[in-house]
C-alpha cells in the first residue's frame, strides 16, 4: 500500500459525507436513542424528573419475552403480515396483467380507482371501510342481509376486515410498479410465447415473473415492511386492538405500552425487537435470492 492510494481512499468518503450526515442524524441517532431507552427503566416519572432514571440492562427485554401476550401478538403479527403481503401481491400482479390486456377506457378507470385508493389517507380509508361494514348503518350488511352482524367482534373476522382495507390501500403500489415492469418487457418475447401457444398463466410464470424478478423482490420487501408495521388500520378499525386486545399487532402493542401507559422503555424494547426482526427477514430474503444466482 502506498501513501497515494491511502490518500485516495478518503475521496469516496468525502463525497458520501453529506448523505452520511443526514442518515446519521435522521436514522442512526433515533435508533441509538431507541436502544438506549430500552435499557433503562424509563416511564413518565423518569421523563418529568419525579424519580431518578435507573439502568436496567436487558430487564425490559426479559419482561417482554416473559410476557405470554407478547408472543401471542408476535405470532398474530407474522401471520397477519404474511396474509396481507400474499393478498396484496396477488391482487396487485393480477390487476397489473389485467391492465395490459384491457382497452384504454377501462384501463384509465382502473388506474384512477387504484390511484384514488392509494391517495386516500390511512385513517380516512379505515374509517370508510369500518362504516361500510357497520352493524347498524353499513351498506354491506344491508346488501348481504346480515342484520346487525358485527364484523369486528370475532377475532378472525376483524382481522379479515382489516386485511381487506390493507390490501385495498397497498395494492396500487404493486400494480403500478409491476405494470411499468411489464410495459418494459420486449413485446416480441411475449408474442413468441403466445405463438408457441402458452396460456396466460404460463406466460406469467415462465416469462413475465422471471423477467420482473427484481421488481417483484422490491415490492415484496416493501410490502413485508409495511404490513409488518401496520398500525393505523388496526388502531382505527378495531378501536386500539379489538375486544380484549384480540387484534393487537406489534406496532399497536408497542404504542399501547409506550404511550397509552407511559412505559417508554418497554415500548422501545418492542421497537428494537421489531427492527431486528425486519432486518433479519430482509437480509435472509436477499441472501436466498443471491444463492439462486440472482443479483438484485
Amino acid at each position: 500500500m502506498t501513501s497515494v492510494t491511502h490518500g485516495k481512499s478518503w475521496t469516496p468518503w468525502l463525497y458520501l459525507a453529506p448523505a452520511l450526515v443526514v442518515l446519521g442524524g435522521l436514522l442512526a441517532y433515533p435508533i441509538y436513542q431507541l436502544g438506549l431507552i430500552s435499557l433503562f427503566h424509563y416511564t413518565q416519572a423518569q421523563v418529568s424528573g419525579g424519580e431518578p432514571t435507573t439502568f436496567e440492562g436487558f430487564g425490559n427485554y426479559a419482561e417482554l419475552f416473559g410476557d405470554s401476550q407478547f408472543w401471542e401478538v408476535l405470532l398474530a403479527t407474522v401471520l397477519f403480515a404474511a396474509a396481507c403481503v400474499l393478498s396484496t401481491l396477488a391482487v396487485g400482479c393480477a390487476l397489473a396483467v389485467l391492465l395490459t390486456r384491457v382497452r384504454a377506457v377501462p384501463r384509465l378507470a382502473l388506474m384512477l380507482a387504484a390511484l384514488g385508493a392509494w391517495a386516500t389517507p390511512a385513517v380516512t380509508g379505515s374509517t370508510v371501510w369500518l362504516f361500510l361494514f357497520d352493524p347498524d348503518f353499513g351498506p354491506v350488511n344491508r346488501v348481504l342481509g346480515l342484520g346487525d352482524h358485527s364484523w369486528t367482534y370475532g377475532r378472525l373476522s376483524a382481522f379479515f376486515l382489516v386485511l381487506l382495507e390493507v390490501v385495498w390501500c397497498s395494492f396500487p403500489f404493486v400494480m403500478v410498479t409491476v405494470y411499468a415492469g411489464i410495459r418494459a418487457v420486449p413485446a416480441e418475447v411475449l408474442e413468441a410465447a403466445s405463438l408457441d401457444g402458452a396460456s396466460q398463466w404460463r406466460i406469467w410464470r415462465s416469462v413475465l415473473a422471471p423477467i420482473l424478478r427484481p421488481i417483484l423482490v422490491v415490492v415484496t420487501i416493501q410490502s413485508v415492511i409495511w404490513d409488518f408495521k401496520v398500525f393505523t388500520q388496526i388502531y382505527v378499525m378495531t378501536n386500539g386492538g379489538g375486544i380484549a386486545g384480540q387484534n393487537l399487532v406489534l406496532n399497536v402493542y408497542a404504542y399501547q405500552k409506550a404511550f397509552a401507559s407511559s412505559q417508554y422503555s418497554l415500548g422501545s424494547a418492542i421497537g428494537v425487537v421489531m427492527l431486528l426482526i425486519l432486518l433479519v427477514v430482509t437480509l435472509a430474503y436477499l441472501r436466498l435470492l443471491r444463492r439462486q444466482g440472482e443479483e438484485l
Binding site: 436513542q33 438506549l36 431507552i37 435499557l39 433503562f40 424509563y42 413518565q44 416519572a45 423518569q46 421523563v47 418529568s48 424528573g49 419525579g50 424519580e51 431518578p52 432514571t53 439502568f55 440492562g57 436487558f58 352493524p135 346487525d148 352482524h149 358485527s150 369486528t152 367482534y153 378501536n239 375486544i243 380484549a244 386486545g245 384480540q246 399501547q256 405500552k257 397509552a260 401507559s261 407511559s262 412505559q263
Partner: protein, 430 residues
C-alpha cells in the same frame, strides 16, 4: 463472563457514564414571586361558555385583590389532556401554574413529580373542613394533599318511565330485579337493549362488584394487592357480565361499548335503562327521550340498598414547577371555593365537593336528588396508587370484562389474570 453478561457490563459502563435518556428538572421552584402572570389550564367542556363565565368572575376578583398580577386561562380538550399534561411535566418552563385534572390521575401525577404538596395550605383553609371524605381522599396520596376537589361526578340508573309503564314493570329495588327487568323489557321490545352495558365501561361495572362486597384492591399506599378475583368480586362480575347476551345487550355490539356509548344508546332511545352520571344529564335531555325518563340510585344487592358508586370528578392542583406558590394556592382556593362551586353547579350542573353546599343545591334542583342520595349512601374510589393510572390506561378491567362476555375465559380465569396484571403494576409502581 459469558458474552451477554460482558456485553451488558460494557453497555452499562458506556451508557451510565456517557449518556442516559433525557430527564427534565422538575424540582420544586424555590421562587415565590408575588407579581407576574399565572397560567391556568382547565378542561374544555361540551358547552363551555357558562363555565368560562364563572371562571372569569373569579379571575376578575383575584386580579383586583392582587395588583400587577395577570391570569391567563386556557381550556384544553379533554381527549388530549393526558398528552398535554405530560408535556407540561416534561417542560416545566412552559408549564402552567394550575391545572384541572381527573381525580383518578392524582397518584400518577404525584409520582411523575408534577404536583405540589399543599397539605399545609389545605389544612389552614377554612372551607376545607366541609369537603366530603371521598373527595378529600381523591386529592390525598400517602397522607399528603395535592390539590383541591373541584367537583364530584357520580352515576345512577336512568330508566324510561314510558316503557316501564307500558309493560307494567316495577322500578327495580335490587340488582336481581334490575337484571330481571332488563331482560323482561328486551323480550317485549326486541329492538331495544334492556339495560345498556359496555365491556369497556369500568365505572358502570364496578358498582356491581362493590355491591356484592368485592373490592378493586385492598391495602394501603405502597402495599396494595388486587382483590378483583375474590369470591365476592367474582359474584359481582358474574352479575354484570350476565347482562351481555341476546336477552339484554348482545355481546357482539355491547362488548366494545364504553360509558359514553351506553348513555348515547339511552339518549337516542335504543335502551330502556342505562347507568349514567349527573354529568350525562345534559346529553340525555338533548336526546329523543327527554321527558320520558327518570333517575334512581342504582340498587344494591338487598332491597332498599344502594350500590356503592364510583366517586369520579375533577380536582385543581398546583404544579410543582410554579414560581408563584402563594398566588397559585390562593387562586386554587378561589376556583374551588364554596361560592365558586355553587355557581359552577348553576352554570354546568357539576356537583359540589362540599357536603353542605351539595345539600343546598340539591334542594333547588330535583334532578340531582338521586345522585346526592347515591353520594350519601357511600361511594368508592380507585386505589390511591400511581399503578392505577397504568392499570386504567392498559385496559386491564375492560379486557377482563370483554374476555368474559365474548366467552374467551371464565369469570374465574379472567379475574385471576386481571388480578395478576394489577399486582404486577402495584409491585413495580407501588
Amino acid at each position: 463472563m459469558k458474552l451477554p453478561a460482558r456485553l451488558a457490563v460494557l453497555l452499562a459502563v458506556t451508557v451510565a457514564t456517557a449518556c442516559a435518556p433525557q430527564t427534565s428538572d422538575n424540582s420544586a421552584s424555590d421562587k415565590d414571586e408575588q407579581t407576574g402572570t399565572l397560567r391556568v389550564w382547565l378542561f374544555q367542556e361540551v358547552s363551555n361558555k357558562p363555565k368560562e363565565k364563572v371562571v372569569d368572575s373569579v379571575l376578575a376578583a383575584f386580579e383586583k385583590d392582587h395588583e400587577d398580577t395577570d391570569v391567563t386561562v386556557e381550556y384544553i380538550p379533554v381527549e388530549t389532556r393526558a398528552q398535554r399534561i405530560k408535556a407540561a411535566f416534561n417542560d416545566p418552563k412552559s408549564a402552567p401554574d394550575l391545572i384541572e385534572y381527573g381525580n383518578t390521575d392524582t397518584a400518577g401525577y404525584v409520582k411523575d413529580g408534577g404536583l405540589l404538596d399543599i397539605t399545609e395550605e389545605f389544612g389552614a383553609w377554612s372551607e376545607a373542613k366541609d369537603t366530603d371524605p371521598t373527595a378529600k381522599q381523591s386529592v390525598t396520596v400517602d397522607g399528603k394533599v395535592y390539590g383541591a376537589p373541584y367537583f364530584v361526578g357520580v352515576r345512577a340508573l336512568y330508566y324510561r318511565t314510558d316503557l316501564f309503564e307500558k309493560h307494567d314493570i316495577e322500578v327495580p329495588r335490587t340488582q336481581a330485579e334490575l337484571i330481571a327487568a332488563a331482560k323482561e323489557i328486551r323480550a317485549a321490545e326486541p329492538g331495544l337493549y334492556g339495560l345498556a352495558v359496555g365491556g369497556a365501561y369500568t365505572y358502570g361495572a364496578m358498582p356491581f362488584v362493590w355491591a356484592h362486597g368485592g373490592e378493586l384492591a385492598t391495602g394501603k399506599g405502597g402495599s396494595y394487592a388486587s382483590a378483583i378475583d375474590s369470591p365476592a368480586a367474582q359474584k359481582g362480575i358474574k352479575a354484570y357480565t350476565s347482562l351481555f347476551g341476546d336477552d339484554n345487550c348482545p355481546a357482539e355490539t355491547c362488548a366494545g361499548m364504553g360509558g359514553n356509548d351506553t348513555v348515547t344508546a339511552f339518549a337516542s332511545g335504543k335502551a330502556a335503562m342505562a347507568i349514567g352520571g349527573d354529568f350525562s344529564h345534559a346529553a340525555v335531555e338533548a336526546g329523543k327521550v327527554k321527558g320520558k325518563y327518570a333517575v334512581v340510585p342504582l340498587p344494591g344487592v338487598k332491597e332498599g340498598g344502594i350500590a356503592p358508586a364510583f366517586a369520579g370528578g375533577n380536582n385543581i392542583g398546583v404544579l410543582k414547577s410554579t414560581s408563584h406558590r402563594t398566588l397559585a394556592v390562593d387562586l386554587m382556593q378561589r376556583l374551588a371555593s364554596k361560592k365558586t362551586q355553587a355557581s359552577m353547579f348553576d352554570a354546568m350542573g357539576f356537583l359540589p365537593t362540599f357536603s353542605d353546599v351539595r345539600q343546598e343545591v340539591a334542594a333547588k334542583e330535583p334532578f340531582v336528588k338521586p345522585f346526592v342520595e347515591t353520594l350519601g349512601a357511600g361511594t368508592k374510589f380507585v386505589p390511591a396508587s400511581p399503578a392505577w393510572s397504568q392499570i386504567d390506561s392498559s385496559l386491564v378491567l375492560p379486557t377482563m370484562f370483554q374476555e368474559i362476555v365474548s366467552g374467551k375465559k371464565s369469570v374465574e380465569a379472567a379475574s385471576k389474570d386481571a388480578a395478576k396484571k394489577m399486582n404486577d403494576a402495584f409491585a413495580t409502581l407501588g
